[in-house]
Symmetry: C2
Subunit: 390 residues, 2 copies
């Protein structure tokens, strides 16, 4: 088990503070665990307060002993109720809260406790800082990618006629966990869960779900309506495996295609187009083109290859992104999507996933988690890129 080094935490806090200062904040509360883990090193049940001057304070409900072992912060204090924190917060006028994720009642309780103040959404600042990964974070993502590689090497063993999508998902998860995969991906959303993954085969690949993904899958019930289903695998149909891996909180995401017997020509051709788009967009990204332009470029490539109607889903269910940043959360900066007028910078990690969905027939796609480096990119998920036939 690995803890976040002190200098790592100090550097992160200093970067968030710079943004807080620009926004004229007197301090900020981090109550949502992804961000306070990033800024403190622990996910024990806590509330992190960063004043604009002075030392951050981590108030821990449970369990403070573990929080003190995991976090290099100096001020780690117990708290049972919000009243316990009041003496530690100086007079404040403009205060940051994670307004995009923290429930209304929780925000109001703190505001009522501390008196009248202006609330500012501090989440964009935390997200901004998280978008560039440190060498420490990249090393953890490399470890996640090495688990992913082993898991994908195992896929062919699990693919047999008559086996259900969800059984394949379960076996992959079981094997992945034995290697250190933590079982969940995390999404900054009230309602979205990343579970049971997209193991979709044949026609289920064309089923759209509530998830923001070109293909969704049936899932298991109206209460779990995404991803792998009870459908049995058949011969000669496309099997898409989009299975994210999480190690020490850091995620990598990847997609490969399989078939039992043969891959129908429609999907084989589309797969090569996806792979081509993936690499051509990456090459252009190195040049510093904006994410918006990269997105439009990928659409042109798909159109020129004759796949406009299927690229990133079919109408009216197309999704509006080609790549999403990835790290502690499944969707973070950068997004290769419309209106994102920034380039992909050195140190950013992202999952690029050109996919084609053919109504009532199925889906196909190709995806890697990629690190942008100085003068080039590096594919972290270094997994066999061919269609695998079993």
């Amino acid at each position: 088990m690995e803890y976040t080094p002190c200098e790592e935490i100090e550097s992160r806090i200093s970067k968030v503070r710079d943004l807080m200062e620009k926004a004229s904040l007197d301090g900020a509360f981090f109550h949502y665990k992804i961000d306070y883990f990033y800024l403190s090193g622990t996910m024990q049940d806590s509330l992190l307060y960063i004043p604009i001057d002075g030392k951050p304070i981590l108030f821990v409900k449970r369990e403070i002993g573990r929080a003190r072992r995991e976090s290099p912060l100096e001020n780690i204090l117990p708290f049972r109720s919000l009243k316990d924190i009041k003496p530690y917060i100086g007079p404040v006028k403009r205060v940051g809260f994670q307004l995009d994720v923290v429930p209304y009642n929780d925000i109001v309780k703190i505001r009522d406790l501390l008196g009248d103040m202006e609330l500012v959404d501090v989440s964009p600042m935390a997200i901004e800082v998280r978008k560039t990964k440190s060498p420490f974070e990249i090393r953890i993502m490399e470890k996640a990618a090495s688990i992913a590689k082993k898991v994908y090497q195992k896929v062919p063993e699990f693919l047999k006629e008559g086996v259900r999508e969800i059984e394949v998902g379960g076996m992959l998860e079981s094997y992945a966990k034995s290697l250190g995969h933590e079982g969940l991906l995390r999404v900054r959303s009230l309602n979205y869960e990343a579970y049971t993954w997209h193991i979709v085969s044949g026609r289920t690949g064309s089923v759209v779900s509530q998830s923001d993904s070109p293909m969704g899958g049936f899932g298991l019930s109206p209460a779990f309506p995404v991803g792998a289903s009870m459908k049995k695998l058949k011969r000669d149909e496309p099997i898409l495996v989009d299975f994210g891996i999480c190690y020490h909180g850091y995620q990598v995401d990847q997609t490969r295609m399989y078939a039992i017997g043969s891959m129908p020509e429609l999907f084989e051709k589309a797969y090569h187009v996806c792979r081509d788009i993936h690499y051509r967009v990456l090459d252009k990204a190195v040049g510093g083109e904006s994410c918006n332009d990269l997105f439009e470029y990928s659409k042109r490539l798909a159109k020129d290859a004759g796949y406009e109607a299927y690229y990133l889903g079919y109408n009216p269910h197309k999704v509006r992104f080609l790549a999403h940043g990835i790290g502690l959360e499944l969707g973070e900066l950068p997004f290769v999507a419309p209106r994102r007028d920034y380039p992909i910078e050195e140190g950013m990690t992202f999952a690029i996933e050109p996919k084609m969905v053919f109504p009532k027939q199925g889906a196909c796609g190709f995806e890697n988690t990629v690190l942008m480096e100085k003068g080039g990119y590096r594919i972290l998920t270094n997994i066999d890129e061919q269609i695998i036939l079993v």
Copy 2:
């Protein structure tokens, strides 16, 4: 795959409306999916509006075709942005929102759209209605329990010296999913996730975590600090398996004890005390005693048996509940806990889990999901109650 019947949805909405009327609400928005699933039958990405008079409207972002198949509601409309809903909402003064879970920004956006209004927390009303299960819901929970039974019968096969806790968890999950288990339990909380479950062995059973549970486990990293860990199973140590099952969104929760070789006497004795407390509290619950009194009674039983220091954890980490309601969420009404001055009523389902934790030695416990019926109770998780030695 099973859909929620129309009369079921109508009855639920009518009950929530009664409570809304008592609270003088003009209408209520349900944005958190557990409650809108309960009230509509679908978990597609939606926003449910229930006016105090007139028909509920389900606004669906994605995917409306599935929402229309799954939900018997008449008014199911597409929406892309909040502006789309405005024409459908009459003049309102007092409006319900799920203020305990919906993010601050989301609430403020709707309030700004619709004009000045008084915000009321409607979550307690939804939770109140959900506490009593219908025959339809009970049938689904029985199915979940039948999956749990099969999964627990499989546990002994997976317990071998040198196998890691997380490997056991993974194999159980994989098997459970093949039977229809949906892989996640759901908790009404910003930060709490129910994952990888409590497979704890020997000393890891005494490790406290951020979770509100007497025992927590190490988990896999500071970013996933709960439940099964990389620790290998040994001979002659207590192995606690607390593995929840979810079917069509409905959960059952249970705990049993295992050992490879022999169970140390300390844990064997404590197990029988747990089982005794479990049954004696259930017998008293049938008499209509309040949950607060049941909790105190269980503490007296533990004390009289000489286990005061270990019952529901050790100081200062004791938890303050013996049982939690269970259904679509892992912690719902009723709670057998201090200050809960209501009885357990007919139709309520709850997980009762007396547990003992011995510092630095391990944990032991016994848990079932139980349905209160007229004049008695019924254990849904009808699983072998003996300690299993392999």
